[in-house]
Symmetry: C2
Subunit: 418 residues, 2 copies
């Protein structure tokens, strides 16, 4: 070896196409004769020296990552603190990287992961360890700043738009004697991007979804119920898309019943869909049904967006190019160069501009009623769900998803006692 290895890891909630990024990273590195190690379960695998050797995987297996959802190497929710507070952990990371001759570190995740990559690059600079750190974007929440969109979002958006359109046909058929209101809960802690994507299901004035509830707009029960009632009166039925993260005017999450927290300290949400459904049933006396797709929306590789897939692969390839060119502390971001026709390119952006920030929906993307998307929002979103990229299917009717061998790299250090 001698010339160094590249370490790749996945972090945060996985997506339908994060493995497509991984596959592109490995293919690009192989093309440059660079060996790729992967850390199991994100940065934790680096701390634990729990690494796998991707060079043991066949070219066919690596190609198949492009159509396999989930996280092939495992992910984690684990946030490193400041260099001062977590000095021992950063030192351990450098020890592991050094032991395995790692010269390039690619961390594939959201804004928390960009922060981890940035801090590690700072630590390396402080200590003089020769390391190039790259943050590789990924999140169905679409809430990273600087980049036009985030790999993973387009596919979750396509899943949402298609599912809302299909469910709306069901509700329309049943409304005469059965369900009048259907509530569809989407992910999105603080940003309404996936809720907005539900809006792509309809084109005409009265098409579903007739009501979208964004986390960017304070929830007003009376206004919501009045809107639902008006739609049912006019259309005969109503589809509501609601973001898991909607809040009351005082900032409390509408869904906040238990108040659990995840490892990043975010509230554990879910359940606002059935809650709103019960409100509609009790206050308006209408028959309701509701859905919470939860993980299905972010793992539905079978209905991925071809645009999203291409971007997920492009950021992976660019990340390797930037790493080998020594562009430290950057993220390959998606730059929209034209909306009609849709054109995009990849460019490097400083991690310092991206880490720990969140992009919510701009005001001009939500219509004056507060319950719908504007033409500008549609023009932004539409290209992201364009094109189909179905996985190959096995003879038994299931997608032919790959399971990697994930053979471990021999440990060289004592066990981590973190």
């Amino acid at each position: 070896m001698g010339k160094g290895t590249l370490l790749y890891a996945q972090s945060g909630g996985v997506t339908a196409v994060i493995n497509a990024t991984a596959g592109a990273v490995i293919q690009a590195a192989r093309g440059r004769k660079v060996k790729v190690l992967a850390a199991r379960n994100g940065i934790l695998g680096a701390l634990r020296e729990d690494l796998v050797d991707t060079s043991r995987e066949s070219a066919a297996a690596i190609r198949a990552l492009a159509h396999t959802p989930g996280g092939a190497f495992g992910s984690c929710r684990f946030k490193l603190k400041s260099l001062d507070q977590d000095q021992d952990k950063y030192q351990r990371l450098l020890d592991v990287l050094d032991a395995h001759d790692v010269r390039w570190f690619l961390y594939n995740g959201g804004n928390d992961s960009a922060d981890t990559a940035l801090k590690l690059s700072e630590m390396a600079r402080v200590t003089g360890y020769p390391l190039t750190c790259i943050g590789v974007p990924k999140t169905v929440d679409n809430d990273l700043v600087v980049t036009d969109t985030c790999p993973g979002f387009g596919s979750a958006a396509k899943y949402t738009a298609v599912s809302v359109a299909e469910a709306a046909l069901d509700v329309a058929a049943m409304a005469d004697t059965s369900t009048k209101v259907f509530v569809y809960e989407v992910m999105g802690r603080h940003a309404g991007w996936l809720a907005a994507a539900g809006g792509l299901a309809g084109v005409g004035k009265d098409d579903a979804p007739q009501v979208i509830l964004f986390p960017e707009i304070a929830y007003d029960e009376a206004k919501f119920l009045a809107r639902v009632q008006a739609v049912v009166k006019k259309v005969g039925w109503c589809v509501v898309v609601v973001s898991e993260g909607i809040r009351h005017a005082d900032g409390r999450f509408v869904a906040d019943a238990g108040g659990g927290k995840d490892a990043f300290g975010h509230s554990q949400l879910g359940g606002v869909g059935p809650l709103l459904a019960a409100t509609v049933k009790d206050k308006l006396g209408l028959k309701v049904h509701w859905t919470v797709p939860d993980y299905l929306q972010r793992s539905a590789r079978h209905i991925a967006s071809a645009t999203d897939l291409a971007q997920a692969q492009a950021v992976g390839k660019a990340a390797v190019d930037y790493a080998l060119a020594g562009k430290n502390g950057v993220m390959p971001v998606i730059v929209r160069t034209s909306s009609k026709p849709y054109r995009w390119k990849i460019a490097p952006a400083p991690l310092a501009d991206i880490a720990n920030r969140e992009k919510t929906m701009p005001k001009v993307f939500i219509d004056r009623s507060g319950f719908g998307i504007t033409a500008a929002c549609r023009a932004y979103l539409q290209p992201l769900i364009k094109g189909e990229a179905p996985p190959p299917y096995r003879a038994d009717g299931l997608p032919d998803y790959v399971r990697l061998k994930n053979l471990p790299v021999a440990r060289k250090l004592p066990a981590w006692k973190g």
Copy 2:
């Protein structure tokens, strides 16, 4: 016309392929030069004389029904009582049929709808009105007797198997620091067919779903929790597929909180998924996520089974053949002539043998643990999800679903005062 019209209507919960049956009915009737009227919202449209003229639809629109989910003419949940109890309604139906020269009535639905078709055929016989009634099978619940399977089930089964497989990849990637148990709630009031279909997601011993809860097996919380804990200990995570209709040993639905009823008098279910998730969280202290796909599972035409689609079209064509041949009071059912290779044909079966009965999972389809499917069950289910039949997509990334014109037939009778 003079030679008579054929009346087609859709009933009960709609499916991904009930419109494919409708399209096949209309195409077959057009081929025989028979005019097809459709009742809006099932039998209610017949009572209300709310009929549409399908001859006003283009051949392309009728072809597009094959790839459009929902119910193109609207459905209903409405059960006619006995001939004695609902004499006025049956008389009204005969008046409407007579006014529009209807000689053949095709009712597309489940076991309640087979009952309606049967009763109407009896009423016609009693009164001497020349009418041939055919029940056309449809239900994602797969609970009709006599027929090997029900159109609509195979597609919902494929949706379920694919979604469970995809979610399992997500959970496997997250389990180290986040979700350990994922609960997936499927439809199925009294029969565990869709829960069993979730079992197709995995092949190996420890593959997801590691726990399936069937309505055919009494729910035992202690046994369930012990199983989940053992799986998490061995595999690191666990996927649970649960039927909405699981019951305690005393017969109470586990989900029964509110106790609402639908128009057929069935309990309104939903919510057992989050309930089990909370149990796992509280009793085992494990991080959980849950999903309730609800209508998505029965309207997901985008992931329909090609086998299911072919069968939905075949029963539609056969229904027209039987009707025009005067085979009164029958249903075209699917007969499995071979499992390996899978072969099937359509044959007529008396509605009297099918109406108001339910087929639950046979004991030999559930393994000894009570939490999994047997090889026999897999052999039965596997062919039903075989093959893909994606809809065409528009340039904007959404499926190109058709909306019929549904032009009304001029009324000839006074309004119904039912």
